[in-house]
Every structure is written in structure tokens, then in C-alpha cells.
């Protein structure tokens, strides 16, 4: 298993490099640049700006420098400075030597921040919201799916799947403003927008205040974001469980005289979780790295927005940073999924 994981992590590096080449190529291929403005900048100013950000270098050199800055650890004796171009994610000090790794560069748009600043300040908020939604989605989706499967073709099944279809078909962009209107504007029970914690974070990503002050901000976006995913989980669980309960080993278990609740929880459910776990991986990566619409509707200072605005602004370092971040999360989540398979189904082995 250990060797398998190491091999997968090495593969991840290759995947991330390939993603970075494709992203780099695509973003330079689309027309327009970071300094396109409706109020056009003089050619001289654009030249100066390009020079400053080394955009006047040939593309292969720009890409080479990027890979060097992001992927290769730097070992140096100069301590970190306040410069935005010299902001590494990881700085380790051993004696007089600094090991510094992952410099994603400065943002062209937010000119007093680097991409690492955006990761440090915004990613934790997206991650908190994403994790809460994922937990909510599983807490609602799994029981709902199990219930519907066990009571197949009863009123409970129809009700459960009705809720699921509602969850899938009413997008956040509709549900969000309705929630805001009811609980924020009309009843004034919950704040209309914002997020209950802000930097600095505990361990880099946990809220420092976890009470009502935090929860009241989290309720509506978590529900809006989690509901859609819970519906997907519910439908998958139902379908998968319905298939599993018809398997021979379930009949065997029944004929042994096991109680129905033990059969379901210990034998059927565990085996029917494989497809559910499979989608939880990508779902985790998507939710945790930020969701544009939810964050916009609830005014949450997360990462989601940067996936979209970085492209409209042609903010190259932010485009690269967000895409690579997503790629890493996705690959890691899929690795966790594969490890979970081995636990859920002992027939699956990786060595």
C-alpha cells in the first residue's frame, strides 16, 4: 500500500505538470492580455508592465521560470523579503539557510497581493464552506438514499426522491436568493452576506471563533450548496443499495437468520458505498476549492471568484495558481477514494 501511494504521488507530479503546460498554453493563446483596458494603456506603459512581469520573455522561458519558481525548492541564505515577487508558500529556516518552495507569483490585478496571499486568505474560507456542505450533503443524502431503497415504491421512497429531484433541479442561483430573502431580509434571523471568520486562521485553515457568530453566517450557504450535492448522493445510494440487496451474499445473510438492520448496515450498505465514494472525491475537490455562484450570492470572500475573474482579467499567475490548486486537490481526492475502495471492498488490492 505504501509503495502504491508513493507511486501515485509521483504520478500526481506528472499530471500537475501536464495540466500546467496545457493551462499555460491555453491562457496565452486566447486574445487579449492582462493589460487590455477599455481605456487603452499607452504602448509605452504596456511595454513597461510587460517588462516588470517578464511577459516580454519568450513563452518557453516564461514557462521555465514558472516551473522553477513553483516546483523546485530554493535553497538560499537570503531571508524572505516583503517583495510580492519573492513570496514562497513554504519557508523553512535551518541555521542560516532558507529552504523556500512554491512561489506562485504576484497578482496582476490585486497589485498589493501575491497568489500565495490569495491562497492563504481565501482558500481556508472556501475550504470551510466546502467541508461543511460536504458533511451536510452526506448527512442528508446517505440516510435519504437508504430510506428510499429500503422502502422502495412506497410513499417514503417517492417523498425522498422528490426531495432529491428538487435538490438537483433547483440550482444555488435560485435557492440562494430565496433563502437570503426569507431569512436575511424578511425575518432578519441570519446575516445576508459575509463569512464568520477571517484571517489569520487556526492551523492555516480553521476558524478561530466557532460559535453562533460563525454558524449564523455558515447556515444559508451551507444549505444552498449542500442540498444539491445531497440529492446526487441520495439517488446514487438508493440505486446502488437496490442493486446490492439483490446479491447472493445478502440472501445468504438473510437465510442465516441475521436481523435486517445488521444485514443492511454491515453487509449491504458498506458494499453499496463504492459508487458514492467515487463521486465524493471530485465533489470534495470542487466544493473545497471554492464555488463561484454560492460565494457571489452570499458575499463570501472565498477562492471561487478567482477561478472566473482571473480568466476575464487575464491575470496569468492567478489562473495558473487556481487551476493547479484544483488539479492537486482533485488528484489527492481521487487517491483517497482509491484507498477507501480497499477498505470498503477487501477484494480490491493495489500491490
Amino acid at each position: 500500500m505504501g509503495r502504491y501511494i508513493i507511486r501515485r504521488l509521483l504520478n500526481m507530479l506528472v499530471v500537475v505538470l501536464v495540466v500546467s503546460i496545457i493551462t499555460f498554453g491555453l491562457m496565452h493563446a486566447i486574445p487579449g492580455g492582462p493589460f487590455s483596458r477599455e481605456k487603452k494603456l499607452p504602448e509605452e506603459t504596456i511595454r513597461v508592465l510587460n517588462e516588470r512581469y517578464h511577459l516580454d520573455d519568450p513563452l518557453w522561458k516564461q514557462y521555465g521560470n514558472y516551473v522553477y519558481a513553483v516546483f523546485i525548492p530554493h535553497i538560499t541564505t537570503t531571508p524572505p523579503s516583503n517583495s510580492l515577487s519573492d513570496d514562497f508558500m513554504i519557508n523553512v529556516n535551518i541555521g542560516s539557510v532558507w529552504i523556500r518552495w512554491m512561489n506562485f507569483g504576484p497578482s496582476y490585478k490585486s497589485r498589493s497581493r501575491s497568489v500565495n496571499d490569495i491562497f492563504r486568505d481565501n482558500l481556508p474560507i472556501s475550504a470551510q464552506l466546502g467541508l461543511l456542505s460536504l458533511i451536510l450533503a452526506v448527512l442528508i443524502g446517505l440516510p435519504l438514499g437508504v430510506l428510499s431503497a429500503l422502502k422502495q415504491n412506497t410513499i417514503l421512497d417517492y417523498l425522498g426522491m422528490g426531495v432529491a429531484i428538487f435538490g438537483v433541479s433547483v440550482p444555488v442561483i435560485v435557492l440562494g436568493p430565496i433563502l437570503v430573502w426569507i431569512f436575511g431580509v424578511a425575518l432578519k434571523w441570519l446575516p445576508v452576506s459575509g463569512w464568520g471568520s477571517h484571517p489569520p486562521f487556526l492551523l492555516g485553515f480553521l476558524p478561530t471563533n466557532f460559535g453562533w457568530q460563525y454558524i449564523k453566517y455558515a447556515i444559508m450557504p451551507t444549505v444552498a450548496l449542500g442540498l444539491g450535492s445531497s440529492a446526487v448522493i441520495a439517488r446514487l445510494t438508493r440505486a446502488s443499495l437496490l442493486q446490492t440487496v439483490r446479491e447472493d451474499y445478502i440472501r445468504t445473510a438473510r437465510s442465516k437468520g441475521l436481523r435486517e438492520s445488521v444485514i443492511i448496515s454491515r453487509h449491504a450498505l458498506k458494499n453499496s458505498l463504492i459508487p458514492v465514494i467515487t463521486i465524493l472525491g471530485p465533489l470534495f475537490a470542487t466544493l473545497v476549492t471554492g464555488t463561484f455562484v454560492t460565494e457571489l450570492i452570499f458575499g463570501i470572500p472565498g477562492m471561487g471568484k478567482y477561478f472566473v475573474t482571473s480568466i476575464t482579467n487575464r491575470d496569468y499567475p492567478v489562473i495558473m495558481g487556481t487551476i493547479l490548486l484544483y488539479a492537486v486537490f482533485l488528484v489527492l481526492a481521487n487517491l483517497l477514494v482509491d484507498i477507501a475502495y480497499a477498505y470498503l471492498d477487501p477484494r480490491i488490492k493495489y500491490d
Binding site: 486574445p31 487590455s36 517588462e51 516588470r52 516583503n82 490569495i118 487575464r314
Partner: protein
């Protein structure tokens, strides 16, 4: 029994949360805190005057740094800022030197985590704002290493600035900035233009704390990060207290600002700006959590019908123009009759009443009325172009007869950048062209940066959407900076390639250059009126559509002014007890 126990535990936990919530309210009753919001796509990009370029950055800079001159946010008039008075001398080489006499009683301040304190020098004295701070600010704005996107504003007026910015020389003493003593600075301009004193007061020419940026014996250099809340220093009526990126920014009253007739000491203690989409902002306003908000277009009908909201709603002019540019060299639109027919056929009144709805004004010409030296509807009611179906049909018919073709043969394309507002406007105008002229104009849209690339090239489409907002409130910033040969939407490459509207009219160019240097306001106004007539009617190089308006909604307990220059002067606002 076990279930009961769990329920009991949950109830206890819930009640603890709720009491925790109750205990935190009620702080800061004595402070006047204004809650408002920026619209737009999120974070304030920077608070560094040297590199700022967007509205939200400039808004905060206007409140925390004051220029040599100040532009009144309501009247657009130039008034004293950090300079109490100034005098102009024309030099023998045609340049003009303005000597500014500055206040010497303004100290740099910072928020120390608990209160606003004066910044001390290494000797322990107060650091006062001096002429050298201004010189350093201008130098940083022009420094090619800083790479300011707005360096060209000073570049077009200030002697030697363009050469310094382009790296032709690295000697800042060649730039027309002379520090005479701590409270006197002389700026030398290329020509005696009416707007020199306006540009001298803009955010691009504001002091910056050199000791903080580059460091000195008692201050650590923080470089580009000096605009962050933990380092920030300023001297205007407010200073920065807190900046939670992408979420909110708070400025706090500077009690050490001396207060002048033009820029008083603030009555409000703190201003909290949230960074929200306009729809979310308005929801916060309706929930009563922010005091002043922008208005989403789709809420305007509801606001107008609501007895309470309608009283809190106000439309004010905004210094921007919306227009359609014509490619004056492309097939069909290279004939003035076609261009004029298209422009005459646009029923602008109907468009602003039924489509845009936000109180915009139908534009008869380009320069927004209210700018210095720009014509107004009151002074020139018949200037320019307006809806006239018959005249439009006659112009087009004359063209069709001439060429021996029919309206069906005229193949036109209108390009706009992808956005629902632009789409609605384009569809309405497309229908007007169909109804009045029987022309079928194709609509295409492109993503913004792609759109900019297309319209700014030699292959600009026949008709394209565009717009312009002020940098400084003078007609020169509109009609000349945009449309004179080489202007923003009429650019000419070094090899002579025409871009944008691709319009060449030497009379127009001469007229707007002469108007810039004219000292008699009445003659200047007449010259710009004539230039507008050439641009929108005689040559119909563009079709002006509407002049922008601000849609603002403010709680009744707020006393405020409405800034038309793109920013507000919050030091003039007040909050009544409520």
C-alpha cells in the same frame, strides 16, 4: 430515555450559542459608523496611489491622501487641497510653471491597532507632509520599475515625465518637479492647458511615505506591501483601519487632519465598505445592515413603486458616456450618410425609458455635460444629433439610390462585449434600425478582453459598443483624449495603421488641440461645441447613446452629497441619531 438525554444536550448547546450571540452586541454606541459597499468584482486592487487605476482604489485614496488641488465632488470645480494657493508663470520656451504653496500643518498618521497616531521620524518629531513627499509620490508614479498603468496621465502634461517613464532618462531632475522648500513645490507643464491644475491634484500625484516603502534608520522597508493595513500611513481626513481582503475595508477618521473649508474634519468616525455584488448589497440595505447602497437595475421598478424606498432613492449624473463607434473605413459605414442614418434612427429617449431605466440621459453628443468646458443641454439645446426617423430614412435612401442597391444589400454587424445589459441595449437598437430603416443588423458578442482586442485593431467591426468615464473633469479628457487622431478609440500605429473608429479629420484635430490651450472659457466652450458637431453630426463618426447616471439609495438618517466625479467625499457626510 437515551433520546431524551440527547435532545436535552442539544438544547443546552443551542442555548449556549444563543447567549454567546447576545453578549457580543451593543458595542460602539457612541461612534458614528457608516456601513456601505463597493460594487464590482470583489477586492479593492490596491491602496497605493502610484499604481491605482480603478474606482474603489481611488475612492479610498481620495479619503486618505489629499492632492495639491482638490476637485469638488459635486461641482467638479478645482479648489484648494494641500495647496492653499498657486500661481502660474509662462516660461520663455512655452512651458508653464505652477508654484503651489502648501499647508505645513498636516502630519502623517497611522492606525496603531487601537487609535490613530501621528507618525514619528527617527528623531521623534512628527513627520509632516512636505513638498518632498509630493515629489517622491510623482517620481514613484512615473518610475518604470513601479510600472503604473496610469503613468500617462502625468505623462501627457508634465514636462519630461513621459521620457522618464519610458526609461529614456533615469534622471528625475529632468522632470518638471521642483521642491523649493518644505511647503512649496513647482510643477512645470508642457503647455498652458486649462486642466493642468486638475491633473496636478489627481491621485497619480499624491505623496507616499518613502521611509516606509524604502526604509530608513528607524523603519523597516516594506516595499510594495505598504498599502496593507498593518503598515499603511496616510494624512487625509481618514486613514485605513482594517482591510479583510475580498470582504471588507474600514477607514477611520483622522483626528489630526486640520480641516479646511473644502475638506472639513469628518463628522463620521468610521466607514465600513463591504465588497459585494450589487444585488447582495441591496439585500443588505433592505435588511438594514448597510446605510448607503447602489441599486441593481432589476430592482428599480420595485423601488419606484415602494412608498418608503422611493423616497430613499436618488438618481444623480455620472461622468461617463455610452456610445456606438463606427469603423469609418469599413464597407457601408465608410459613407457618412449610412453612419448618420444609423445614428438618427436611434430613439435614445425610448431606450433610456424602456430598456436601461436607470435615469440615464439621452446623449446628443459625446462629452458628458457637467465637465469643465463641455456644452450642456441648457446652453446648447439643439447641438448634436437626436432621433429623427424621416431624416434617417432620407439619408439612407440617398445612399442606396447612389449605389443602386436596396436596404437588403446593406450588410452590417454590431459587436458588443458579452453582458446582459449591453445585449438588451443592442437588441433594442437593432429593432429601431429594423423599424426605421428596414436594415437587418447582425449582433455578435465577444468576451471582454477579446472584444477589446477586436475593436482596437484595424479590423474593428462596422459598429461596436464603447464607453468612457472621466479621469479629470474637463471636456479635453473626453473629446480629445478619445477621438482626436491617436486617441483612445481612434489609435494610430507607428506604421500609420488606423484602429478603432479609424476616423481622420484634421480640422477636428486642430480644433481640439487649440481648445485645450484657450484661456477664455466662453470661447473654449464654443470650440468644443463645434468639435462635437463635427464628431457626431457632420461626420457622424460615432453615435452617442446616453450619458450615465448613478443610482443610489440611502437611509433617511444619512446626510450626504452625491459625487459626480466617480467618488464620494465622506468627510462631508453625517449620520443623524436613529
Amino acid at each position: 430515555m437515551r433520546k431524551l438525554y440527547i435532545t436535552f444536550c442539544l438544547l443546552i448547546a443551542l442555548s449556549m450559542l444563543l447567549t454567546a450571540c447576545g453578549a457580543t452586541g451593543g458595542a460602539g454606541q457612541d461612534l458614528k459608523i457608516l456601513y456601505t459597499s463597493f460594487s464590482g468584482e470583489g477586492d479593492v486592487p490596491t491602496l497605493d496611489p502610484a499604481i491605482a487605476e480603478d474606482t474603489s482604489s481611488i475612492q479610498i485614496i481620495e479619503e486618505t491622501f489629499i492632492g495639491l488641488t482638490n476637485i469638488n465632488e459635486v461641482t467638479s470645480a478645482v479648489e484648494p487641497g494641500m495647496a492653499t494657493d498657486w500661481e502660474e508663470t509662462i516660461n520663455s520656451d512655452g512651458t508653464v510653471t505652477i508654484t503651489f504653496n502648501m499647508r505645513d500643518d498636516v502630519s502623517w498618521v497611522r492606525w496603531n491597532g487601537e487609535e490613530v497616531e501621528k507618525v514619528k521620524s527617527c528623531d521623534g518629531d512628527d513627520r509632516m507632509v512636505t513638498a518632498s513627499d509630493f515629489a517622491y509620490g510623482i517620481q514613484r508614479n512615473q518610475d518604470p520599475a513601479v510600472a503604473s498603468p496610469y503613468a500617462y496621465l502625468l505623462g501627457i502634461v508634465l514636462k519630461g515625465a513621459a521620457e522618464f517613464n519610458s526609461g529614456e532618462t533615469s534622471d528625475f531632475s529632468t522632470v518638471g518637479v521642483d521642491v523649493i522648500d518644505d511647503s512649496t513645490i513647482a510643477l512645470t507643464f508642457l503647455a498652458p492647458a486649462a486642466y493642468n491644475s486638475q491633473i496636478a491634484g489627481l491621485w497619480v500625484a499624491r505623496p507616499q511615505p518613502k521611509w516606509l516603502i524604502e526604509g530608513d534608520e528607524c523603519t523597516e522597508a516594506v516595499g510594495e506591501r505598504w498599502g496593507e493595513a498593518e503598515f499603511f500611513q496616510s494624512y487625509g481626513p481618514f486613514t485605513l483601519k482594517e482591510w479583510i481582503h475580498d470582504s471588507s475595508l474600514t477607514i477611520v477618521k483622522n483626528p489630526f487632519w486640520p480641516g479646511t473649508d473644502e475638506i472639513p474634519v469628518s463628522k463620521i468616525d468610521e466607514i465600513n465598505f463591504k465588497m459585494l455584488d450589487v444585488t447582495v448589497q441591496f439585500a443588505e440595505y433592505e435588511a438594514g445592515t448597510i446605510d448607503a447602497s447602489d441599486v441593481p437595475l432589476d430592482a428599480i421598478d420595485r423601488i419606484k413603486a415602494d412608498p418608503v424606498l422611493s423616497k430613499e432613492y436618488l438618481i444623480a449624473p455620472e461622468q461617463c458616456s455610452y456610445f456606438y463607434g463606427f469603423n469609418n473605413q469599413a464597407e457601408f459605414t465608410n459613407d457618412v450618410r449610412v453612419r448618420r442614418a444609423l445614428s438618427l434612427a436611434v430613439d435614445r429617449q425610448s431606450l433610456v425609458d424602456n430598456v436601461t431605466k436607470g435615469g440615464q440621459e439621452p446623449a446628443q453628443w459625446f462629452s458628458r455635460p457637467g465637465l469643465a468646458a463641455a456644452p450642456t443641454i441648457a446652453s446648447h439645446p439643439d447641438l448634436g444629433i437626436s432621433f429623427d426617423a424621416e431624416a434617417a430614412q432620407a439619408e439612407l435612401q440617398s445612399y442606396l439610390d447612389d449605389k443602386g442597391i436596396t436596404a437588403a444589400d446593406v450588410d452590417l454587424t454590431l459587436l458588443f462585449n458579452t453582458s446582459s445589459t449591453h445585449q438588451k441595449i443592442a437588441e433594442a437598437i437593432q429593432q429601431m434600425w429594423k423599424d426605421t430603416l428596414d436594415l437587418d443588423v447582425k449582433l455578435i458578442n465577444q468576451e471582454f478582453a477579446v472584444f477589446l482586442e477586436t475593436t482596437d485593431g484595424p479590423n474593428a467591426p462596422q459598429i461596436f459598443r464603447s464607453g468612457w468615464c472621466l479621469d479629470y473633469p474637463d471636456a479635453n479628457n473626453f473629446i480629445r483624449d478619445v477621438f482626436a487622431s491617436g486617441g483612445n478609440t481612434n489609435a494610430v500605429d507607428a506604421d500609420g495603421t488606423l484602429n478603432g473608429i479609424q476616423w481622420v479629420n484634421e480640422d477636428f484635430d486642430e480644433l481640439v488641440i487649440a481648445a485645450a490651450l484657450e484661456s477664455d472659457p466662453a470661447i473654449r466652450l464654443a470650440m468644443y461645441a463645434e468639435a462635437e458637431e463635427i464628431l457626431v453630426d457632420k461626420d457622424a463618426a460615432i453615435a452617442p447613446i446616453y450619458w450615465y447616471s448613478l443610482n443610489k439609495i440611502t437611509k433617511p438618517y444619512i446626510i450626504r452629497t452625491y459625487g459626480v466625479t466617480g467618488h464620494e467625499a465622506y468627510e462631508k457626510w453625517d449620520i443623524l441619531p436613529h
